[in-house]
Amino acid sequence: MSKNIVVAEDFNVSRKIIVSTLAKEGYSVMEAADGNEAVQLFDGRPIDLLITDFNMPNMNGAELIQKVRAMESYTYIPILLLTTEVREEKIQQAMDGNITAFIKKPFETQDFLKIVKKALR
């Protein structure tokens, strides 16, 4: 049974890279270009991991994470937040207690996969 991963990221190129990296590892990936699209995917279906960007149109990462955590089926799912170096500290404070780990962009594929694998344990 392959793991289901939702990838929310408004920047097309980087979303495609993430998605194809995950697909090659055998994960089933659902993608969303903003928080709104992403939250629609959390309709009760089994989802094992959310990877989301912070800054997105319509609904940003923080709101998305709050909405997801508020749903009973997804209260405890691992969530990885994509960030850029500059803003990390601020976001980290704001998101404390809600997310599993940060992924700094740009990332090395191997490091990224290691974190994903660990989060899915």
Partner: protein, 678 residues
């Protein structure tokens, strides 16, 4: 000693030094490369052995010292570092001088001193630490203190999974402090109120242990290596837990139970070391004295080659492949395994089987240069027959490929070369008119990239004549008049069955073999061919081939009760979609990457009547041709041994081969491009 042999030794030793240098540089790039370390050890060992026989005393001594260093590195007793690397590289230069007969004895002496000092430092260090080290299988002991925040589960962390992961690292003792709520209930409620102390004995390094807690905050975990009893009264530990003498004794007993030999280990190491050294020296001397033994060992080393029939090799590969499969089957039967000792033994078995597999596959690899003579002779005869002048340049002929693949490559390569000289390269007069050198250039180069080997054949001739191909294609009924075709389409037509160029049958290109056969031959060894050409400037034929025929990384998917495999390198994208949404559209297309494309449902294709509610779409991309395939779901990823289809099944072209899965069941490998054609 015969002078010829002496000369031979010098040459052999120089080659060894070259290989050694290469390996050292490789190791610098990837210090963890176990194969390289092993190679280095082997080179030094060989160097030492033969040096003794031919009276190169300094070479023998120096390589002996280096060998002992790398033997430790190989066995994990010593860490390879820049100092050792620099020292060894320097030693390679000194060894080369010594073999050339230069008087570099003093420099050799200095390096040997350095190595001796290195060893002394080590013994001093280990005596200080009084660690368990060698006695307990290189295990290390750790004390781990975990103070997870209460809301850890809300962060998406699975505390239980982390503890499981820790257990997989080795034997451990788990203690719960402040268990105001039963631990099981804490896990069930996903609210952790206790804090934890874990003693762990593991081969893993400190960083690997810390890695388990990658998602925890630095304030939530502490990992301390236990080198001696002092740890339990040291500040980092006491910050969390204060123990009395009695409790410390308890802890030490626990560690001893996890890692037998911990309490009284240090002496064992000392007595062992000198013993091994002296036996090695004695063996060297014995070999030198015994004339007959000398001859035998030299002969076997001289060529360094033993011919083995491919049949025997195949047999070996089959058995090894089976062993690999059987190991996973065994693992499967154990249900993952709880007993840490069994798990450890399994891991060792895995490492050994994989190493065995790799060496078995390596035996099959042969360098491309065994084709060189044939190609050169072909070029000579063809260019002579056609009155053309050709300069043949090769590069990367030492690239290695599976033996059977080289056999299979011979015919297609010859054909491409014939074509290049016949149709590509112009005759000398024509070339002069075009301001090209009279001699045409034919370049053959080959290189490794990832798990593929690329072979390129480049000529500086006239390039492919697309008008001619268009005309011929129309004549053969493969193309329609009045339609525009891209160059790529025309190249495809050139390689299509039925496009045999008649005017070449009479001359050298001969035997009526067309490019379609070349393409088929290459496809049969799971390779691709690509052509790029520039009018008036020449063409490049690029062959992309898998390194071996047998190992394949695949995605395992399920369709009804069966499993199928898709080569990973062809997978571009996967997602789930409801059956209704896929099939209800009349167009029966999906949109991907901004384009509409048709999909092939395997259930439908295999004439299975019912469908799952949730389907999985896999976008396959092979040579820029994309196919969307709909399967039930993805089961996982698997490195597997490729088996060609049995002859009776070769007509079933939607599959390219078969494979046996870890649990002993079989799966067919999908040939997605054929699905598109259907």
């Amino acid at each position: 000693m015969n002078a010829d042999f002496h000369q031979e030794y010098i040459e052999e030793a120089k080659q060894l030094l070259k290989d050694l240098e290469q390996a050292l540089l490789q190791l610098e790039k990837d210090p963890e490369d176990a194969d390289m370390i092993n190679n280095i050890y082997r080179y030094l060992h060989t160097l030492k052995g033969s040096a003794g026989m031919f009276g190169f005393k300094d070479v023998e001594r120096l390589s002996h010292e280096l060998e002992s260093v790398y033997s430790d590195v190989r066995d994990g007793i010593r860490q390879q570092d820049d100092f050792i690397l620099d020292l060894t590289l320097h030693a390679v230069d000194v060894l080369a001088d010594l073999i050339d007969g230069k008087d570099s004895g003093k420099q050799a002496e200095k390096i040997i001193k350095d190595i001796e000092k290195l060893k002394e430092d080590d013994t001093a260090a280990s005596a200080n630490h009084a660690t368990a080290g060698g006695a307990a299988n290189n295990n290390k002991a750790y004390a781990i203190i975990l103070r997870p925040e209460k809301n850890i589960y809300k962060r998406g962390l699975n505390f239980q999974a982390m503890l499981d992961e820790l257990q997989e690292l080795g034997a451990s003792e788990f203690m719960v402090h402040d268990e105001t709520v039963p631990f099981e209930k804490q896990l069930a409620d996903k609210e952790v109120v206790s804090w934890f102390e874990i003693l762990l004995a593991s081969k893993a390094g400190l960083e690997a242990v810390k890695d388990v807690f990658l998602f925890m905050k630095p304030s939530e975990y502490t990992v301390l290596e236990i080198t001696d009893a002092g740890l339990f009264s040291s500040e980092p530990y006491r910050k969390h837990i204060q123990l009395d003498a009695h409790q410390i004794e308890d802890r030490l007993k626990m560690v001893e139970a996890l890692m037998p030999g911990f309490l009284n280990a240090p002496e064992a190491q000392h007595t062992e070391e000198p013993e091994t050294v002296s036996t090695a020296v004695q063996q060297g001397e014995a070999a030198e004295e015994d004339e007959s033994l000398d001859k035998i060992s030299r002969r076997s080393r001289k060529g360094g080659h033993v011919s083995v029939s491919t049949g025997k090799l195949d047999q070996l590969i089959n058995v090894v492949s089976e062993l690999v499969i059987f190991r996973s089957e065994l693992y499967h039967l154990m249900g993952g395994g709880q007993n840490p000792e069994v798990v450890e033994a399994m891991e060792k078995l895995e490492r050994l089987t994989l190493r065995l597999r790799d060496s078995a596959f390596n035996i099959r690899l042969v360098p491309l240069n065994i084709l060189n003579v044939k190609l050169e002779r072909l070029i000579r005869s063809v260019s002579k027959a056609l009155g053309k002048e050709v300069e043949f340049i090769t590069e990367g002929l030492d690239t290695e490929l599976d033996r059977s693949m080289i056999n299979a490559l011979e015919a297609p390569l010859m054909h491409i070369i014939r074509n290049a000289i016949d149709h590509g390269i112009e005759n000398p007069e024509e070339r002069e008119r075009r301001n090209k050198p009279r001699k045409g250039l034919l370049k053959f180069y080959s290189y490794n990239s990832g798990d593929h080997v690329f072979i390129q054949l480049q000529d500086d001739g006239n390039g492919i004549d697309f008008d001619k191909i268009r005309a011929k294609g129309i004549e053969k009924g493969l193309l329609t008049r009045n339609q525009a075709y891209s160059e790529k389409e025309l190249i495809n037509v050139m390689m299509a069955p039925g496009f045999s160029t008649a005017d070449q049958v009479t001359t050298v290109s001969g035997r009526g073999v067309g490019m379609d056969v070349v393409k088929k031959d290459i496809a049969a060894i799971r390779g691709d061919i690509e052509v790029s050409t520039e009018k008036g400037l020449g063409s490049i034929f690029t062959l992309r081939l898998p390194l071996t025929l047998t190992i394949l990384d695949t995605l395992v998917v399920s369709v009804a009760d069966n499993k199928y495999l898709i080569p990973i390198n062809e997978v571009e994208y996967c997602y789930k979609e409801s059956h209704a949404r896929l099939f209800n559209k009349k167009s029966r297309q999906i949109s991907y990457d901004g384009l509409l494309m048709p999909f092939v449902s395997l259930r439908e294709y295999f004439a299975i009547e019912d469908f799952p509610e949730q389907e999985t779409v896999i976008i396959i991309n092979k040579n820029d041709t994309k196919v969307a395939v709909v399967v039930d779901e993805i089961i996982g990823k698997l490195q597997t041994v490729y088996k060609p289809l049995n002859e009776l099944l070769t007509g079933v072209d939607c599959f390219s081969g078969t494979s046996i899965l870890g649990d002993g069941s079989m799966a067919l490998i999908l040939n997605a491009l054929k699905l598109k054609d259907s």
